[in-house]
Symmetry: D2
Subunit: 139 residues, 4 copies
């Protein structure tokens, strides 16, 4: 997929750093490409559900950011990204040491982009997301 200008990578990195929750969760960027982001985070005991696995909402938080920045990477430089909605299915318990999150653009539109995400626990797919992202003018 083709970005609209040369600033896409810097804009995505800056946006990622500005999200307090990414630092709190210990998420790091594995790779940034136009229309596709890969993040990872190690297990963190503070973000679990009742069985000691990562909470579905924690998994969803990182998937949402991966999908959001994938969409942002294809938007013009004067746009920001907002999550319109997402839907996640949970395929297996989020049990593991290292979690991987992939977000990619299915369809990049002028206003709305459709994205898809997948999360993995030690290589096993645990969640799949379908999300709509919106390009909005910078405030």
């Amino acid at each position: 997929m083709t970005p609209k200008d040369d600033t896409w990578k810097a804009r995505c990195e800056a946006g990622f750093l500005a999200q307090g929750v990414m630092g709190t969760l210990g998420v790091r960027i594995v790779s940034l490409d136009p229309g596709r982001m890969v993040f990872e985070m190690p297990f963190a005991a503070g973000f679990t559900q009742q069985h000691g696995f990562l909470h579905a909402g924690t998994v969803t938080t990182v998937l949402d950011s991966a999908c959001g920045f994938a969409a942002l990477s294809l938007m013009p430089a004067d746009r920001e990204v907002l999550t319109v909605e997402f839907k996640s299915n949970f395929l297996a318990p989020a049990r593991g040491e290292m979690f991987r999150f992939e977000g990619e653009v299915v369809k990049a539109g002028r206003t709305l982009s459709v994205t898809r995400g997948s999360a993995f626990a030690d290589g096993v797919e645990i969640s799949t997301m379908q999300a709509t992202m919106m390009a909005v003018a910078m405030p």
Copy 2:
């Protein structure tokens, strides 16, 4: 709605306390009723997106738990609850001091329950969720 036994409240409270992420986020129970849970949390700077508002995933984490325990409250005592899937729409930025999360059961089935959640920032609705919860045998 009618719970299946007298332990529903204790089971929901114990499950809530066992979720590490509820404590980390500073969530507290406002009210527990059969088929309906209300939680709240104050703004927390560590869980934000790039504009300094609560991240959509943070909002979804608490809504998922509110919907999950609402479903659990109507299940038999030997069952646990798992999130099958959820879908959230975001109606307004999660900007505010105090956030409220309501989860309630729309249809309680033997295996699957359909739930609905709403999140509010200082009284303004910011997100609406539709989620499927599953009753599974205790391990």
Copy 3:
């Protein structure tokens, strides 16, 4: 909810009549109000799944239109409505003689509107929908 001009009702009725599938399915308007539509259709054997009940997709077709026209009723006169996405849960088999479909606006935005729908078979709720609708300029 307050419509933006006096033509909302005529625009919704004309849009409904222009949808070939509404006539084919035998759907009729029960009531039109700003931000809320109620439709109904009798059972039709040509639109069933393998047990002879209405197909989930048939139920969804009418719910989508009820939600779409509910959104359209609050848009300016020079706008059309498109479905961005929807999500439906199925609560019970679509078994019955008469089916009722309610669509209403949860949040009306300038570009996007969030809507909610419920379908009933002989008074029993069988499906609940959460959908995003978009206002687009007339071609």
Copy 4:
């Protein structure tokens, strides 16, 4: 993916034929494989929205069946399939002569299966679905 017995193909074909709406819409099977179904239908004027394109609900009806039979193909012979829920995004208008619908299993579970579907109009992707299917005992 590996079916559980030799009857999977006959069961899927019989189920398809038993769905009245498939015949009414003029849908035909392109290919059946374990965990993956491909259907197609020509444009049909009776199933349109207000611009004369296929209604989003019509597209969803066929995608739901493709996903449902994909799930059924991996279930034991004494099970039937029910749609728990689905979520569809619409990527482009359903404008074209020939429509193709692909449904495949992402994760086959004992009770629940997660599936994904894509619809195409003359080769252009117009919709993507994420759906949960349930195995239920034959009545």
